[in-house]
């Protein structure tokens, strides 16, 4: 078993995308002046979401709206909304995090990371394990509920009582760009099906997607290491949380996924989603909703600790565990 995991991890490690992440991390760590222009990075990230949503939609149309889709969708919503409550308790009690920051951090871990999902899918593709297109919809569904959970946790004292400024919270939360683009592309994939795929296959899949993922991961490596270096005091408890929580969350997700009867590939991807932490939609929402929460805690945790862990070790680990569980 251990050998299998090690082999799998090694295969994963030698994927170009992972190596480009490592290159970025190394360059950032050595303080090279290599940088990807911010608008190019943003465009890449939109492109990746468009591809993931669209491909998922096309595949979901092929396989039809079935019970698996409903089951995994419901599971995704539940995980995104419920796990932040548990994460909050752990962050408060065991990591001694201040209340608002704990809630904001919990929201990050309830929500998901698009690129971790992409890396997970590519891993499965590389080792020849099938998965359902509708997992892209689950990804989209899991972006937002965690934010609501955090708002519930903090309750009415989210903002300074003295202020009269009321942000347009619901719009930002429900209509954040990532969720809109993922769901929208999924629906477009659903509507256009194979005909649409024929037109766009070389754009949304294959080398173009792989290459964009490499470039984006290169930038993620640069940004993550730089962010880590700027972080003043890294508390051990938070590092532990950033690595252990994803494992626990991923394993819980595997059990739940098996219970509702998902396939091996879908189980793995669901674990990847549960284990991943947001670094796009949730930080944006938190700046608006919980401005007193410390971004110097949740950004380095999700971006510079949990993300690399999942990318490099987590993905093959969750897949090995899914196999063990007989997915």
């Amino acid at each position: 078993m251990l050998e299998a995991v090690t082999n799998a991890a090694l295969t994963n490690l030698l994927a170009p995308a992972i190596l480009f992440f490592a290159l970025g991390a190394l360059a950032g760590w050595a303080k090279s002046d290599l940088t990807i222009p911010d608008q190019a990075a943003k465009a890449l990230s939109l492109y990746l979401m468009l591809c993931i949503g669209f491909k998922g939609g096309v595949e979901a149309r092929v396989s039809g709206v079935n019970q698996d889709l409903l089951a995994s969708g419901a599971l995704g919503l539940a995980f995104s909304f419920l796990t932040p409550f548990a994460a909050f308790l752990v962050l408060r009690r065991l990591c001694n995090l201040e209340r608002t920051t704990a809630a904001a951090t919990a929201a990050h871990y309830g929500s998901v990371s698009v690129v971790t999902f992409a890396a997970g899918s590519e891993y499965l593709r590389a080792i020849g394990v099938e998965f359902s297109g509708h997992m892209a919809a689950v990804l989209a569904l899991m972006e937002t509920p965690a934010i609501l959970a955090a708002l519930l946790i903090v309750g009415s004292n989210a903002r300074d009582p003295g202020t009269t400024f009321k942000p347009d919270l619901w719009r930002e939360v429900l209509l954040n760009g990532a969720a809109v683009l993922l769901i929208g592309s999924f629906v477009i994939g659903l509507l256009t099906g194979e005909a649409g795929m024929q037109k766009l296959s070389g754009f949304v899949a294959g080398p173009a997607f792989q290459g964009a993922l490499c470039l984006f991961l290169l930038d993620m490596g640069l940004v993550a290491t730089r962010r880590l270096q700027e972080t003043r005091a890294i508390r051990l408890g938070l590092v532990a949380f950033a690595v252990i929580w994803p494992i626990l969350s991923g394993i819980a997700a595997l059990f739940a996924a098996r219970a509702v009867g998902l396939s091996l590939g879908d189980m793995t991807l669901f674990a990847v989603l549960a284990a991943s932490a947001s670094y796009i939609a949730v930080p944006a929402a938190m700046r608006l909703a919980l401005p007193k929460a410390d971004a110097g805690v949740y950004i380095p945790m999700s971006l510079a600790m949990t993300f690399p862990f999942n990318l490099i070790l987590g993905v093959p680990l969750y897949h090995a565990a899914a196999q063990l569980l007989g997915g």
Binding site: Q39, A40, T163, F165, P167, R226, E230, R287, P291
Partner: protein, 101 residues
């Protein structure tokens, strides 16, 4: 050159508040403003950098107007800054065609 004294606001503020801020500026009497994107910065709420990945980003809003408009905007900003990051600085400027401000 015949210049009229006016006030200039340099407002550093997060992107999400921009639409609200601009609406307010219009309401309190500013007839114009311009918005710029920062690339990085630092403040009491920590440092940020625009990377395209984690989008912590701040905008600089420059608004030139009358003292009255300026005071009203400062009132709004004082309230806003109770909860949210950002700073504002006021300075004296001279403008041509003073009635257009």
């Amino acid at each position: 050159m015949n210049l009229t004294p006016k006030k200039k606001l340099d407002i550093f503020i997060e992107t999400h508040a921009l639409a609200r801020l601009e609406a307010m500026l219009g309401e309190v009497g500013f007839k114009g403003w311009s918005v710029f994107t920062g690339v990085e910065g630092s403040g009491l709420h920590g440092a940020w950098r625009q990377t395209g990945i984690v989008e912590g980003e701040a905008r600089l809003v420059i608004a030139i107007g009358t003292e009255a408009a300026c005071d009203a905007a400062l009132l709004w900003l004082a309230d806003y800054f109770k909860s949210y990051p950002g700073v504002v600085a006021v300075s004296d400027v001279g403008v041509m065609r003073g009635d257009r401000f």
